[in-house]
């Protein structure tokens, strides 16, 4: 009986009063979600832990989780990810049309919808690959690539290799 009471007391003491749950990707520490969510469950490659700290004031995507604490990403990475999130296809379309006369061929306008589709999906890897394909097929020139890169650079999107990755987007 005494043992039972001791066990129950230990359980009572061990129960966390603050039940903040955090789900993250095991491979890279990217945080999936965080909150007072008692039923939070992990999918393959994810883990759910209870942590003693609050949700940060900044967006969760600015942090990774190292198993114990939140680690803020470098400001360079945060700025690039923010630029991808805030990329406006409307602004890009306008910049493209404004520069239309500077391209080597007026027919590049037929590629606009494809380029914008990649950008809408925030798939800047796919966009870069497509531009390289157009250049390889001589649909556009090297000078046209410079013009296109400048359009995306206008919204802080760098099309240089290794400076971008798959962005966020989509819906439920």
């Amino acid at each position: 009986m005494k043992k039972l009471i001791v066990v129950l007391l230990c359980l009572a003491v061990a129960s966390p009063a603050f039940a903040m749950s955090l789900k993250y990707n095991i491979s890279d520490g990217e945080i999936v979600s965080m909150g007072e969510m008692p039923d939070l469950s992990a999918s393959a490659g994810e883990r759910v832990v209870h942590v003693p700290f609050d949700i940060p004031k900044e967006h969760l995507s600015n942090f990774t989780f190292n198993g114990a604490d939140l680690v803020r990403k470098s400001q360079t990475i945060i700025d690039k990810e923010r630029a991808r999130r805030r990329f406006s296809t409307t602004k890009a379309e306008k910049a493209f049309l404004d520069a239309l006369g500077e391209f080597s061929s007026f027919d590049i306008r037929f590629e606009l919808s494809v380029l914008i589709a990649y950008a809408e999906q925030k798939d800047f890897d796919g966009l870069k690959t497509h531009i390289e394909k157009l250049e390889a097929e001589t649909v556009i020139t090297e000078a046209d690539v410079v013009l296109l890169n400048a359009i995306f650079a206008g919204q802080n999107i760098s099309m240089n290799a290794s400076e971008h990755g798959m962005g966020e987007g989509g819906g439920l």
């Binding site: 603050f18 979600s33 007072e36 949700i55 999130r85 987007g169 439920l172």
Partner: protein, 281 residues
């Protein structure tokens, strides 16, 4: 026919049964039979208590956090209830209550605990001395000696660092100065959110807040049996589809105790702005 109708209406007005015994200022009379006096006084007390129960608890009540350990309560009028159920009315109430103080104007009993709701009481002695009191109890605070009357007016959340969360309560509207994040990130289907640390269930079951994100869909509901898919129209859910930065306001009855449900895409945030005090008058 008109006369019959008139008579019926008059009779209905005369014979409407009152919900409680009416106060009779003529009783007990000097001519009352002594054996009836207890009954007559008792009937009048019942009527009086019923009126007191219906009295508004407060007028122009304001409660706010002064600092990490102190709250302040002001009211033009406040009605306190005694242990014998009689009421005492106070005017121009202004009390400061610190959790670092023991007893009246402080904590009723025990040591300060983190991550807990502390209920804010106003207490008074029979001689009219009035003070505030903080207690973990929303029903039976440990009263300091000689204090008999009390009124529950608010609550304050002592966070994980043992700091009071900043708020302002005006009458029944309780709002956090900085809306508190309840959940963030990605929730692909309805995920339950425990509201216990954001809405004290002893005071309220109506919460409000916002959904904010940087892209995709975010939604909240008080009924997780409705369709979670963002493309499905369903009742009881507030949804916002965001292409850049955007959000929506929500106000929901907590149909399941201490629980809301949300789902959201990347960089989604569910904030609690506060709650409406629905369980005090």
């Amino acid at each position: 026919m008109k006369r019959i109708l008139t008579i019926l209406v008059v009779m209905a007005m005369i014979f409407v049964s009152p919900a409680f015994g009416a106060w009779d200022s003529a009783l007990p009379a000097g001519t009352s039979d002594p054996s009836d006096i207890d009954t007559e006084v008792g009937a009048n007390n019942t009527a009086l208590q019923s009126l007191l129960d219906d009295l508004a608890g407060w007028a122009d009540l304001q409660v706010d956090r002064t600092n990490a350990t102190t709250v302040a309560v002001t009211a033009d009028q406040l009605v306190l209830r005694g242990s014998s159920d009689l009421a005492a009315r106070f005017e121009t109430v202004s009390e400061s209550i610190a959790i670092t103080t023991d007893g009246a104007s402080g904590l009723d009993t025990g040591a300060e605990q983190a991550s807990k709701w502390y209920y804010v009481w106003i207490i008074a002695k029979d001689d009219g001395t009035i003070n505030g009191l903080l207690s973990l109890s929303a029903t039976a605070p440990t009263m300091p000696a000689n204090y008999n009357d009390k009124a529950l007016v608010s609550a304050v959340y002592n966070d994980s660092s043992s700091n009071f969360v900043d708020f302002l309560q005006s009458s029944h509207h309780y709002e956090y100065n900085t809306w508190r994040s309840m959940a963030s990130g990605v929730a692909a289907a309805w995920e339950s959110v425990d509201t216990a640390n954001f809405v004290p269930s002893e005071l309220s079951n109506v919460a409000f807040g916002s959904l904010i994100g940087l892209g995709g869909n975010i939604q909240v509901t008080n009924n997780n049996s409705v369709a979670a898919h963002a493309d499905t129209v369903a009742p009881n859910k507030i949804i916002v589809a965001i292409s850049d930065t955007g959000g929506a306001y929500w106000r929901l009855h907590l149909l399941t105790a201490d629980t809301l449900y949300w789902s959201g895409w990347a960089s989604a945030n569910l904030y609690c702005g506060g709650f409406e005090i629905t369980k005090l008058s």
